[in-house]
Each structure stands twice: as structure tokens, then as C-alpha cells.
């Protein structure tokens, strides 16, 4: 018999895969809650086995490899091995299989499974028959700990009372001879590795970290939490075990390195400027040429160095994304909804500081999507939608930045109700609300007044904290856009910079001072005759291609006298969906600047996000477009009131 063509079997496979993945997921959650029982494990095994069989038949190598490893683990479980720590791992497998299922639907398998397979095997071997789990324990003593060696040995003694200690670094003999800094590590096998943290904590101990050994290698424990920052252990056990080609580097060290590279970039620009000036003077042209060439070479080296350091600071967004399937499941269960999470572009890399800071806003968006966007299954069924809502988190690199999309196929934002609420809360006049375009009405969800008002959590669409989301993203130099369609869903698009340390910027001058405007925010530069700028109080506007554009005077914003006669040179910048014309004297050029925070004694200055040192050694303040847009909005409101 001739085999049915692949394309005819694929839909059958996909539908079946969905069923089995759902079953696996539910089973694993039960496993986590109630522990293994034969029936449950058998059910899980059947799902994995069926999936493996059909995937194998269709040539989906990764799906069948991963399901095979899952099968092996389930078999070990069936033979009575402890299930400790397995649920999380299996949930990750389910997520990977989900991703693969989506990928084969779209074309071909992309998600890597090797790491999961390795960890499944490690779990199987590690858990053995004795139910002991391998873990790496890292202990750091306090600076003021007396008799460190004795303390370390006493702690190891304590550890021995509760675990099997397999390896210690530095070795105990060395510790006994006083060869110990503040830290030591031990590879142990323990029934409850989580309990070791508390066991070892004490007055002489600065911190204890326990990591499941199966995870230690994939650097998951680098974690993104604040306590992980700047406190990476020198870990001989791990380092030896991990590939010899990797070293762990303290994040603070990377930050310092980044800072130094930043200085180098400044010097490079300075050299180039000197070379230009020499050339301009027309004398000693040979030397000027040589200096120019040397500066160009220095520039290339500095760029490479900068790129390499930036790269060293990058992490795949996977570190963040992997939390979501689980998070969503919990949320969805609580809300009585079914939500399928699809993650895309998990290997997209971005700066770890960006990853650290984007977690909160993403969490908000995801929670809103589950709580307010996606409908309960019955409602979806009535609407002819599949019972499980789709929540898509996708990351990709575009030009100079990263785009993260959070999208659901729920009910969309009811702009009518958003308008009503905004009017009811006195945020806008009924008139203004009626005049708003759909897009402007959707933008209202970002209004601090609306989004923090607790009573609007029932507004179909979005609830609490959208202003915080936008503020968080904008603080990173990014932007949030929202698109929504009633009954079809909502899509948030976050545009993020690759790094926070260096920005491409426009250099402008105003009243003899220089300022820097992040280029990402600049749309265009236009010249407008003075008489085309209209003014109500301190609120200025002009009309640009038929649309009203608020004008913010940089002079005024920084407290300089405003020149009256000259034509207005406007940098059109965006902050969120709003645009303003930033009125400056001159545009001097563009380039890369290294962002330095303002000294703390200056505090937070509205409209200024930091400072930078220019090539000639002068300091320029970095303008923050979002804050200037806020300023314009405030003045607009004042003008309307007045």
C-alpha cells in the first residue's frame, strides 16, 4: 500500500499531538500535586509513547527523541523511583514539544531538545533507586567569620549528617590547612536538596545556594534575581564539570569592562575629531593622514571590542520565556480558562540588564491577557473559537533592537468601555473621548489614571498597571504599541534596545549647550517658520502635514530663555504613540554615545535620562523623549483647562 502523502496526515498528527500534549501537561500537574500513582504514570506513558510513534512515522526527529527520553523517565517512575523535581522538568518538555508541534505545523522543527534529553537522563540516573537527588551546594562565609577553615569543615560535617557528600572544592585537606577563601562548594546527593539552604544558614554564613545538579550546567542558576547579581561564585566543582571552554564571570566585572570600552569609544571619537581638525588646518597633512588612519584602525578595534563585550553580556530570552508556560497555566487554572502558550524566538539574545528589567512588564501583559483577554472556554465555544485561548510570546531581532510580541486571541479591548471609564473617571472630557480615534482610545489604557484604578479591572480588555508596563519599557529606551480587534484579540509589541550601555543618538545644540537625543525616538527633523508655531500659554503646537504636533521647547524645559525670532528647527520624537516636536537651535550630527547615569546628588531630573562625555571631552545631557512628551501632554491639558 502506498503511504498517504505527508501533507494529508499532518493535520491528523497535529490534532492528536495537541490532545496528547494537553494530557501530558495535566498529568504532570497532577503528578506534582499528588505524587505518582500507577494509573497516572501509565497514562502519561501512553501519551508520550503515542506521540513518539506518530512523530517517528512522519520523520519528526526531535519530537520523537524528546518523547523517547520522557518515556524512559516515566518508565523509571513506574518502577518506583522518586518523582522529586521531575514535574518542572517534564513541564519544560511539554513546552518544548508544544513549540515543536507548532514548528512542524509551520515547516520544520527548530527547538533544540538535546539539553532537555540530557537533563532527563541525568534525572533518571541521578534519582537512582535511592531517591537521592544530586545537587551542588555553594556556601559563602561572611567576611567577619572567625576561623573560616573550622567553620567550613563544621558545615561540611553538618552536610554529611544529612546528605551524601561526593565532592568538595577546595578539598577538605586543603581547607584544613587553611587554603580557603570565603567560598566552598560541595556536590551532594540529598533527599531534599531544597532543605539544605536552611540547614546551612547561620551567623557565619553570608549565603548558601543549592542547585539541582542537572541544571547547574545550563547556568539557569545564574538566575535573574537581584541577589544573583554581582555575587557569582568561583565554583571549581562546576567549572571543572562544565566544558573547559567556558568560564564564569562576575556580572559586575562585565559592567566595568563595558564602562571601560565606553571610555575607549569616546577616545576613538576624540581622535577622529582631532584628525579632522588637523586636516582642516591644511598643515602637516601627512601626519594628519597618519593620525586619521590610526584613529580609524582604533575605531575598528574599539567597535569589535565593544561588540564582543556586548555579546558577553547577552543571554537568550529563553531565560525569561521559560517561566511563562508555567505561570500562565497557574493563572489560567485559577481563572477557569484554558490557555495555550506558544513561545517563539527563544534563542533571541539580548543584554542581561534588559532581560532583568523586562520580566515585570511582560508578566503584567501576560497576566492581563489571561485575566481579561482570553474568554472562558464556554464563551469561546459560543463564539466558535477553540476552547483554549492562544497566548503567543515571540521574540525576534530587528535592525538595531529586539521586538517582543505578546499576543492573545481573546476578546480584544472594548474601546467604547475604555472611553466611558476614562470619562467617568474624569480623565478626559466626554467631548474629547468622542472625538478620539480608535487608536487614541486604545491608548487610554496606558493612562495612569485609568490603568491604576482598581474598579476598571472588569473593563473587558485590559486592567491594572498598563502605565507601569509602558513606563518600564520606556525606561529601557523601548516602546510599547498595542493593536486590538474586538472579538479577535490583542497584540502588544514591545521594541527594546539590544543594550542599555550605548545608544545611537542625535547631537543637538540649544542656547549654546549640547544635548543628546536617542536616535531611536527621532522620526524626522523639520524646519518650521516661526509664525507657524501657535501658542496657548506655554503650550505650543504646529501643524505638520495636516496633523497637530505639540512643540516642546528644549530651552524652556531646561530653563533657558526662549529665542523668539528664528525659524523653528524641530526634531520630531515619539514617546509611546504620541509625537512631539522638540525645538532645538541646531542639529550637530549623530553618533554613538555611552550612557552614564547622573550623579546621585542631582537626583531624578525630569526630561533628562543621563549624561555622556562627547569626543571633545565636554559633557552633554541626554534628553528623555518620553518625559518631554509627558510634559507636552501636561501643558496641553493645562491649555485646555485654561
Amino acid at each position: 500500500m502506498k503511504a498517504a502523502p505527508l501533507h494529508r496526515l499532518l493535520p491528523v498528527f497535529l490534532a492528536e499531538a495537541d490532545e496528547h500534549l494537553q494530557a501530558l501537561e495535566e498529568g504532570v500537574l497532577q503528578l506534582e500535586r499528588r505524587g505518582p500513582n500507577p494509573e497516572l504514570v501509565a497514562g502519561l506513558f501512553r501519551s508520550a509513547h503515542t506521540l513518539k510513534g506518530s512523530a517517528g512515522a512522519l520523520g519528526f526527529v526531535r519530537i520523537s527523541e524528546l518523547t523517547h527520553a520522557v518515556e524512559e523517565v516515566l518508565e523509571a517512575l513506574r518502577e518506583g523511583h522518586a518523582a522529586d523535581g521531575l514535574a518542572d522538568l517534564l513541564l519544560e518538555c511539554v513546552d518544548a514539544l508544544r513549540a515543536l508541534r507548532q514548528e512542524v505545523a509551520d515547516g520544520s522543527e527548530r527547538t533544540e531538545v538535546a539539553d532537555l534529553v540530557r537533563r532527563l537522563r541525568a534525572w533518571k540516573e541521578g534519582s537512582g533507586g535511592d531517591g537521592l537527588l544530586p545537587a551542588d551546594v555553594w556556601v559563602r562565609l561572611r567576611e567577619d567569620c572567625p576561623m573560616r577553615a573550622a567553620r567550613a569543615l563544621a558545615l561540611l560535617r553538618l552536610l554529611r549528617g544529612h546528605t551524601q557528600v561526593e565532592q568538595v572544592a577546595p578539598p577538605e585537606d586543603a581547607i584544613a590547612q587553611g587554603q580557603l577563601g570565603l567560598e566552598f562548594t560541595a556536590r551532594v546527593r540529598a533527599r531534599e536538596p531544597e532543605a539544605l539552604q536552611e540547614l546551612l544558614s547561620g551567623p557565619d554564613v553570608e549565603s548558601v545556594r543549592v542547585m539541582p545538579a542537572s541544571e547547574a550546567r545550563d547556568e539557569r542558576w545564574l538566575d535573574l534575581g537581584p541577589q544573583a547579581r554581582g555575587k557569582l561564585p568561583d565554583d571549581p566543582v562546576l567549572t571543572r564539570r562544565a566544558s573547559l571552554r567556558t568560564v564564569r564571570v562576575d556580572v559586575e566585572r562585565l559592567d566595568r569592562l563595558m564602562n571601560l570600552v565606553g571610555e575607549l569609544v569616546v577616545d576613538r571619537i576624540r581622535f577622529q575629531q582631532i584628525a579632522e581638525r588637523l586636516r582642516g588646518m591644511g598643515q602637516a597633512n601627512g601626519i594628519a593622514q597618519e593620525l586619521h588612519e590610526a584613529a580609524t584602525h582604533l575605531g575598528r578595534v574599539a567597535s569589535d571590542l565593544q561588540a564582543q563585550v556586548l555579546k558577553a553580556r547577552m543571554l537568550p530570552i529563553e531565560h525569561l520565556f521559560t517561566r511563562f508556560p508555567r505561570y500562565v497555566r497557574d493563572l489560567a487554572r485559577r481563572a477557569g480558562k484554558q490557555v495555550e502558550v506558544v513561545l517563539e524566538g527563544q534563542d533571541t539574545e539580548l543584554d542581561r540588564s534588559v532581560i532583568e528589567q523586562i520580566g515585570g512588564p511582560l508578566m503584567h501583559l501576560v497576566r492581563n491577557a489571561v485575566d481579561h483577554g482570553i474568554e472562558p472556554p464556554e464563551e469561546r465555544a459560543r463564539l466558535g473559537k477553540p476552547p483554549a485561548g492562544l497566548l503567543r510570546l515571540a521574540a525576534s531581532q530587528e535592525e538595531e533592537g529586539i521586538v517582543v510580541v505578546v499576543e492573545d486571541d481573546g476578546r480584544g479591548i472594548d474601546t467604547g468601555r475604555v472611553r466611558q471609564k476614562a470619562v467617568a473617571l474624569g480623565l478626559v472630557s466626554a467631548d474629547a473621548a468622542a472625538r478620539m480615534s480608535e487608536e487614541e482610545a486604545v491608548e487610554l489604557i496606558f493612562h495612569p489614571g485609568l490603568s491604576t484604578a482598581a474598579q476598571v479591572t472588569d473593563v473587558s480588555g485590559r486592567g491594572v498597571g498598563m502605565d507601569a508596563v509602558r513606563a518600564g519599557v520606556q525606561a529601557l529606551g523601548g516602546s510599547v504599541e498595542v493593536e486590538t480587534q474586538r472579538g479577535r484579540g490583542t497584540r502588544f509589541v514591545l521594541r527594546l534596545p539590544l543594550t542599555l550601555a550605548i545608544v545611537r543618538a542625535l547631537l543637538v545644540s540649544c542656547g549654546g549647550e549640547r544635548y543628546v537625543v536617542p536616535l531611536a525616538a527621532v522620526q524626522e527633523i523639520v524646519e518650521v517658520p516661526a509664525d507657524r508655531v501657535h501658542r496657548v500659554g506655554s503650550y505650543r503646537t504646529t501643524v505638520l502635514r495636516g496633523a497637530v504636533l505639540p512643540v516642546v521647547s528644549v530651552h524652556e524645559a531646561v530653563g533657558l530663555p526662549v529665542p523668539e525670532s528664528a525659524d523653528r528647527l524641530l526634531c520630531v520624537v515619539t514617546g509611546g504613540r504620541r509625537r512631539v516636536g522638540l525645538w532645538v537651535d541646531r542639529v550637530l550630527g549623530e553618533g554613538e554615545v555611552v550612557v552614564k547615569p547622573l550623579a546621585s546628588y542631582l537626583g531624578q531630573v525630569e526630561g533628562i535620562s543621563g549624561a555622556t562625555i562627547l569626543g571633545d571631552g565636554r559633557v552633554a545631557l541626554i534628553l528623555e523623549p518620553q518625559a518631554l512628551v509627558r510634559l507636552a501632554v501636561r501643558e496641553e491639558e493645562l491649555a485646555h483647562v485654561g
Partner: protein, 120 residues
């Protein structure tokens, strides 16, 4: 039931202080000893749950006493009480099987915590 403690120290003052600290925390001091030999004898008599052991003592020092006690009862729980600068001896005691240690001068909570850890 509160844990029973044997306090070993050659200084009467230290024994009194330790006794008071332990009494305040609900431990029961079942015996005291002022040197290593006496400690071994008292241990066998009273079979305490935990021992606080001074290091520098006449007749038999604390480290030797740890060895002797553990020879007789491998599950004995002993907390060393050491003066500053005796790390080598403390290390030796721990290698011999002592569970924990405190460094003089210590505050009461330190000692109590060390005893609680030793009892786990």
C-alpha cells in the same frame, strides 16, 4: 524534653556563664567537668545529648577528650568552645568528630545556635 548538656571548661567562670546561657534557653545542664579526663568520666555517667568542650585544659585537653568520648560513643555530639587563635586545634577537633564550635568571647545566642545545630 529539654536537651541534656555536659559543660566542660577549666574556668569556673566560663562554666557558670555557659550554664546560665543554657538555662535561659531551656537546656538542662546535667554535669560539669573541669578537664578532659573528668569530661570522659562524666560523659559515661550521664550520657548527655550534647557536650560543650573547652580546648585548653589540664590533664587532658579538649581535642583529646573529643577523641576519647567518640571512641566510646561514636554518636556523641560535641560543640567546641575555643579561644581566638586556636583554629588549628578546632580543625583537629572537627576532623576528630566534633560537630560545631564557638569562639570566645561569644554571645549566648551563638552558643545556643551551635548547640541546636549539633542536635539536628
Amino acid at each position: 524534653m529539654s536537651a541534656r548538656v555536659l559543660v566542660v571548661d577549666d574556668a569556673l567562670f566560663m562554666r557558670a556563664m555557659i550554664r546560665e546561657a543554657l538555662a535561659n534557653s531551656g537546656f538542662q545542664v546535667v554535669a560539669e567537668a573541669s578537664n578532659g579526663e573528668e569530661a570522659v568520666t562524666r560523659y559515661e555517667e550521664t550520657k548527655p545529648d550534647v557536650v560543650t568542650m573547652d580546648i585548653t585544659m589540664p590533664q587532658m585537653d579538649g581535642v583529646q577528650a573529643v577523641r576519647e568520648i567518640l571512641k566510646r560513643d561514636p554518636s556523641a555530639r560535641i560543640v567546641m568552645v575555643s579561644a581566638m587563635g586556636q583554629q588549628a586545634l578546632v580543625v583537629e577537633a572537627i576532623q576528630a568528630g566534633a560537630r560545631d564550635f564557638v569562639v570566645k568571647p561569644f554571645d549566648q545566642t551563638r552558643l545556643v545556635e551551635a548547640i541546636r545545630r549539633a542536635l539536628r
